[in-house]
């Protein structure tokens, strides 16, 4: 952990009439526990039923991480209307289950992406949108964007193109649904099981790591 994490911070104590009190922000405000891999519900029929419900009700986190975010608003409006496939925007990571990494992810954004991803609940799915998430695309030699997204987060579906049209995104959603229904979209468990590997990769690019190792 960096020095920033160990720093004490003076805050008002709500219990003792506002008396000042020293706290360690990262142990006071965050849960230190590591994520656990949670096995799917017992019983094949229940499991299939739950997977079906997950696939038919995909809540997308409203966080446009790159230029590809411009392709997402048309999805929800009358031209492409994805709500007919059970896909809805959701404004908070706690309630969302699909995270679309739309286009290039700069290192600065990657930090926020990781924080948002870790706040989402299991099962959660990641969709890489555009060539930049696959191999860096036109930013392959940029000094501040990552090249391969799946080294930092478990990705379920990639949609190639620069930019992919909304139709391509809908096709990507179809693939994602197939994966979920087949029970193969276990990204959250994969992330929990290989946390050290993912964290090592993330810390390699994010130099000012001023957050806890895992953001609940």
């Amino acid at each position: 952990m960096s020095d920033f994490v160990k720093e004490l911070k003076v805050v008002e104590n709500p219990k003792e009439d506002g008396a000042d009190q020293e706290v360690l922000p990262f142990s006071e405000y965050y849960c230190g526990a590591k994520p656990q891999s949670v096995s799917p519900a017992a019983g094949k029929i229940v499991q299939k039923f739950f997977n079906w419900a997950q696939a038919q009700s995909l809540w997308v986190l409203g966080f446009g991480t790159g230029c590809g975010a411009i392709e997402i608003p048309p999805l929800y409006t009358s031209r492409y209307d994805v709500s007919r496939y059970g896909i809805f925007p959701r404004p908070t990571p706690r309630q969302a289950s699909v995270f679309i990494i739309s286009g290039y992810a700069s290192v600065k954004t990657l930090k926020r992406i990781i924080r948002s991803y870790e706040q989402m609940q299991n099962p959660k799915f990641v969709m890489g949108l555009g060539s930049c998430t696959i191999n860096g695309g036109m930013y392959f030699d940029s000094y501040n964007t990552i090249n391969r997204l799946d080294q930092y987060l478990p990705v379920d579906v990639y949609v190639a193109g620069c930019m992919p049209r909304p139709e391509a995104l809908i096709a990507g959603f179809d693939k994602l649904k197939e994966r979920i229904k087949a029970g193969r979209a276990e990204g959250a468990n994969d992330y929990a099981e290989n946390l050290e590997w993912y964290k090592a990769n993330q810390k390699k690019v994010i130099k000012n790591w001023d957050m806890p190792d895992y953001n609940w």
């Binding site: 419900a53 009700s57 209307d81 709500s83 925007p89 908070t92 706690r94 309630q95 609940q121 959250a188």
Partner: protein, 302 residues
């Protein structure tokens, strides 16, 4: 034995209203989508959403009140529904209506909101607290004309029992409070727009505002509870307004038709008018609707 039958009736009544509420929400989503020129989600989407939230494998708690918030909200919704007679004269849909239930109804509408406020406050998210502040001011403002309309009805019928008010309206359209007390109905229906929390008064839970308001931190099963409550609460409020102003219902089809048309009132207003800010809506409620409510009381106090 009697008690068991009562419990059975209550459960059957609740089962009916949960399903009715969810299907109603699905229909409304579809209708709004059609107005937008979209195809819209399937009618059964609210069911899938609830199954999906219940099937989430992990959840994070922020403390005891965080757990109890959705529980309070749900008990507020169920409590509200179970003291309103859904179908007048029916054995099992009469619920637990009693003398003076109108006062308890006003209390129960607010109860869930307060529970939610405590739960959302403990989640520690600043957006939750902002949402709660907005929600409480909006609800308080819309309760003023509603309470005035209710007092006017009580003065008109000399009773605080919903069943008696419904009984007094039987015998055809000309006996409805809509006709016999149009001023109180006007005040009540204006308050109704705010109580249903649809546009233009949906600032509190609109996803486009500060993310979604009080339930910002709620997820998984907590959210599932709140979604089922939304179905119960909305249909309970519709039934309440049907009973107070539109002659109640003597059969399930009549109840379904009247509540659906009532819901369409706020949907039509919602798709036509853009969203108010909270201070705008508070000011709006405290002007014309409150004035109309005061006039309604004034008529009966002379």
């Amino acid at each position: 034995m009697n008690l068991l039958i009562e419990i059975g009736y209550a459960l059957a009544s609740l089962f009916l209203i949960v399903n009715y509420g969810l299907i109603l929400m699905g229909f409304i989503q579809k209708i709004v989508a059609r107005v937008h020129g979209r195809i819209g989600p399937p009618v059964w989407q609210p069911y899938i959403n609830i199954i999906k939230t219940l099937s989430m494998r992990t959840s994070v708690s922020h403390g005891i009140m965080f757990y109890l918030g959705p529980v309070f909200r749900l008990s507020g919704g169920i409590g509200l529904y179970l003291i309103i007679p859904a179908v007048y004269g029916s054995v099992w849909l009469q619920n637990f209506s009693f003398n003076g239930d109108l006062i308890l109804v006003i209390y129960f509408i607010f109860f869930g909101m307060l529970g939610m406020a405590l739960g959302a406050g403990e989640s520690g998210h600043p957006f939750s607290s902002m949402g709660v502040t907005r929600g409480l001011s909006l609800t308080t403002a819309s309760e003023v004309p509603f309470a005035l309309a209710v007092v006017a009805l009580a003065a008109q019928h000399h009773t605080l029992s919903i069943t008696d008010i419904v009984a007094a309206q039987q015998g055809g359209f000309m006996h409805w409070n809509l006709v016999t007390n149009p001023v109180a109905t006007a005040a009540g229906m204006l308050a109704f727009l705010g109580m249903m929390m649809h546009s233009p008064f949906n600032l509190v839970v609109a996803p486009q505002e500060i993310p979604i308001g009080p339930p910002t931190e709620y997820h998984s099963t907590f959210l599932g509870l709140m979604q089922s409550n939304r179905a119960i609460f909305a249909s309970a409020k519709l039934i309440l307004f049907m009973n107070l102003f539109f002659g109640g219902a003597t059969s399930i089809p009549e109840m379904v038709l009247k509540t659906f048309l009532l819901f369409m009132v706020c949907i039509v207003v919602g798709v036509v008018f853009p969203r108010f800010k909270v201070e705008q809506s508070v000011r709006w409620f405290l002007r014309v609707p409150t004035l109309v409510g005061l006039i309604a009381i004034g008529i009966y106090s002379i």
